[in-house]
Amino acid sequence: MIEKVTKTVDTLNQAAGLKRAENRAKWVSYLFCFPAVSLMFIILLVPIFVAGVLSFTDYSLGNPDLNWLGSKNYEVIFGRSSYQKMIWATVTYVVVVVPISIGLGLGAAMLINSVGRIGELYKTIYFLPVMAALLAMALVWDLALHPTVGIVNQTLRLGCGTWIEGLFSFGWLPWVDGAQSWYSTSCADEFPLWIGDRDYAMPTICFIGIWQAFGFNMVLYLAGLTGVPRELYHAAAIDGVTNTWDQFRLVTWPMLGPTTIFVVTITSINSFKVFDTVEALTWGGPAKSTYVMMYAIFEKAVKENLVGFGSAITIVFLFFVLLITFTQRFLVEKRVHYS
């Protein structure tokens, strides 16, 4: 009888011991996670939360007073015309730079893939702008685009009155009046101020953005192209595909789907973040035509010490970026991974 009882107690003790060990193991596992999780909170999530809270206040650095403004900052962003211009400028930049830099990147990648050894040379040349610091390159562009001494306008001026003007005024096309063309009128009058002109500033900033981004997209697409099985092209040839367009439609483009999603997401986010060129060349002007969000955040929160208002723009910015990420994650990604 006593033996039996001791045995039962032993088993109970054993069970309790196991339970305790299990609890301890669980506790230890949390302990191991703690440094990583706490760091993630402190340096990633808490700042976003703080920015979110500050965006409802008029907080500025060094100012002890802090007033709760409610949604007033947001009303200003979506109500006042200069901030509507900001959103418009940012969206313009993204809508122009993303498709063109991706299209050029894909085209360059396919061309490089189809030529032999000389492709390596092209690869290096196209990748050069990606390797250079954009801020430094922006300064170079600043000199090149200078209205009077810049190499761009000087070169354009050299062509005036020669066959080059004849060629680029497109007067040789029967339906074009050469004298009214952009090139001829500029020769007669003067060439644009580029970054100093409201109509030319945004396209110029976009051009520099494309120049800088497409080499990176090209490299990503080159990597994607190496993953397309050769046998699919052979199967397509036997199935009756004779021209390059059908081959692209049937094999290359679908097989590059995952690459494209990645490239679109990365390029969109990078385009939303455009700052260096604007800060170096236009400071958001002329007439707010290049007043992009990242520059607005910098101007308000850092230059003018309006941290509360800057936070509100940051939150709007974050919203756009998250929108892109979630679209990629939930809507498109499912349709391009085939297995």
Binding site: L232, A236, I238, D239, T242, D246, V251, M255, S339
Partner: protein, 379 residues
Amino acid sequence: MASVTIQNIDKSFGTVKVLNGVSIDIEDGEFIVLVGPSGCGKSTLLRIIAGLENQNSGSIKIGNNIVDNLHASLRDIAMVFQSYALYPHLSVAENISVPLRMRRLNFLQRFPIIGRFIPGSKAAKASIKKDVDEVTEMLGIEELLHRKPGQLSGGQRQRVAVGRAMVRHPQAFLMDEPLSNLDAERRVHMRAEIAELHRRLESTFIYVTHDQAEAMTMADRVAVMMDGDLLQVDTPRNVYANPVDIRVAEFIGSPKINILSAQSNDTGDVNVGDMVLAGVKSAAKNSKIQVGVRPEAVTLEPKNSAGIPCHIVHHENLGSEAYFHVELNSGERVISRMDASAIDQFSTGHDASVMLHSNNVLLFDNDGQRIVTHNEVVM
């Protein structure tokens, strides 16, 4: 349906020669299997026939047309690839319809939305659907039509690949190791299925494999290739029983044929060790030769009986039959294939005698070429 004539095909990749003047006449409706170890050039030859690769010299004729300068799509052949090469973004039905879409719809009709409004596209699409349905029904894959290749098993993908090849009734089917990605059980099953398909379609099949079992079981004729040379084209039975080259003899047959060194004397009698092969006369007299004996033509006899003394190194019981690995005094190894009941009498570690059945012996000279043999009937 057409004959395929391969004339003197040469092919090199850089300095590496992969095909040396290969010629084969393939008859209309024939099932020919190109077999050989990997790297022998068989896949390259198939790709040259398909038009995916250009030969350095020589010519390919399909039916009465010389196709050397024709693009793959214009040769009217279909191909099943080792990896199946299905388009992963298209459903089974779309995959099978690709060859028809490319041929029956014009450039504009193939466009996603605009295509619908181009005259004639509706009728063409209906005819494509009808043909696709016919093929899927024949292959028993109707219930898979809307799945993507990623959702199919290996065997199902294989069928879809065959369906895509069948759908436009090509002159010839080219198959590049289509079964090698399947598991062993499935492979045996698909072997019979493809042979049956060939009988039903009565079309020309050119099939590449490194698996001699596939070659022997499916082919009307087997073409054995090695190091870019075509060694022998013959029926499976002749390739096995009557190989012209020692490499063919060694490649075909499992377990491998036994090769023993031997000596012929001036009357043509052949000595293997101390034993004279009764009734075999070699045309090559007074020379060192090689004797090939299939394992089933080798039997073991009790120790000290007539024959070559040997030691049983290992035996394998396969249920219905058994393989005995024996070592002769000369150090040469021989495999004997006997009824499983022989295990009662002979087992690993014991001594025995080896008997070679003279009427099944093949003689080769030292370069591996077959020597004419005169078998005399021994009573």
